[in-house]
Assembly symmetry: C2
């Protein structure tokens, strides 16, 4: 997040921050969190952006975020802002990197701890309330111009997601409770942006033992597909040797 000067500042301290930006010796940098949310919708990887209502970057899009409050854990702050801005309550959350360039927000020195969030169902996100003009999902491959250094955050988050697909069960956070192998494969192929050999992929994933085969099948237009779920939803590093 960044100092977006919420129209009614929550406390005297918040306006003090702006004054401080003008007389730098008088204040400390502020701490914010920003969260890059990913979800898959319509076979595309998407991320939720909010449109800023105030400030120099007004009208620009950004990731949901906000200042960390005294006494608050960083991930609590990320969850609070995520819920306030998108309505998302449950999400896998992971700290990415902390961006601290004092010029990243032209109005104040705001150090932002970037998080990545993953959700299984993009429809749990609703348009935000008062803080932002608008909010909606964008395809990751077609983002609008982003405010602040949020493009860097987007790239960092995508890189982390790709990397962790290869050696963890992180994909479980982007899929519904049950899914078919074809869906899992499509997820990998889409995010990694490369074709995947179905037979090798199936063998590799099954050998990790992170999936549970369900007795049910999904019936569609053609041959029914076996349903699977992840054996553990807890984060897990997988040996691929």
């Amino acid at each position: 997040m960044n100092a977006e000067a919420p129209p009614p500042p929550r406390s005297a301290d918040e306006t003090a921050g702006l004054a401080a930006a003008r007389s730098p010796r008088a204040a400390r940098p502020k701490v914010a969190v920003d969260t890059v949310v990913f979800a898959v919708e319509g076979g595309r990887l998407k991320t939720y952006l909010v449109q800023l209502r105030h400030g120099a970057a007004r009208g620009r899009w950004a990731f949901a975020g906000g200042l960390v409050r005294i006494g608050e854990m960083l991930d609590e702050a990320a969850r609070r802002e995520l819920f306030a801005s998108t309505g998302i309550r449950q999400a896998y959350l992971e700290q990415l990197f902390t961006f601290g360039d004092p010029s990243r927000d032209p109005r104040a020195h705001v150090v932002s701890v970037a998080y990545m969030a993953l959700i299984a169902d993009a429809r749990t996100a609703a348009a935000p309330g008062g803080k932002y003009q608008d909010g909606r999902w964008f395809e990751v491959s077609a983002l609008p111009a982003l405010a602040y250094d949020h493009l860097q955050m987007a790239e960092y988050a995508l890189g982390r997601l790709k990397a962790k697909l290869e050696y963890t069960n992180i994909a479980c956070n982007l899929l519904p409770e049950t899914f078919t192998f074809a869906e899992l494969e499509a997820l990998y192929a889409m995010i990694l942006k490369r074709p995947i050999d179905r037979r090798n992929f199936r063998r590799r994933i099954l050998s990790m033992g992170i999936l549970r085969r369900l007795p049910a099948t999904r019936r569609g237009a053609h041959r029914p597909a076996a349903l699977y779920s992840f054996a553990r939803r807890a984060p897990q590093v997988v040996e691929m040797l």
Copy 2:
């Protein structure tokens, strides 16, 4: 770092922070950096700790750190505090993780961005000036009780270092300009805490093409060893496929 209440507070704001800890609504969390420095000395992996002079954790050991100033980049702050506390000027620096538990420092809510620093020569660190009582190198495998959550930082840093030894040229930051293969091998074996097959190791490293063989040799008590240096000192991810 943490709010160590430097005896003469640098500004009115700094004392305000302590007051704020008592009336949480009035202030924002502060931002600090803490740096875990690693160096190899006497065939051991060591890290530099400073002994706190003030505060509840007085007398405890901690990593060098301090508050980030307005207008300052995070890594600049880390370098500044590192130099002030250890005299180290040049170091490889890498951001690790941001620790934000509001209770990590009992006196104030301080969000700390942890860094890892690597240096080639432990002797470039000198005992610190006024901020700390003492400062010296400790073997990583025999750390004293650490203040705050600095044990977590130590573990995180060591984990990162081990991981990156395997797929980057990060080791170059812990070695002098030139070195023998035996020295490189000893470094890996020591940090990874496992024996390394000399022949396989040599083949693997050479196949990465990150080393340059120098014409010179090092003469010692026995057969002279060929000298090497890293072809690139810039961070580099190595394909080990």
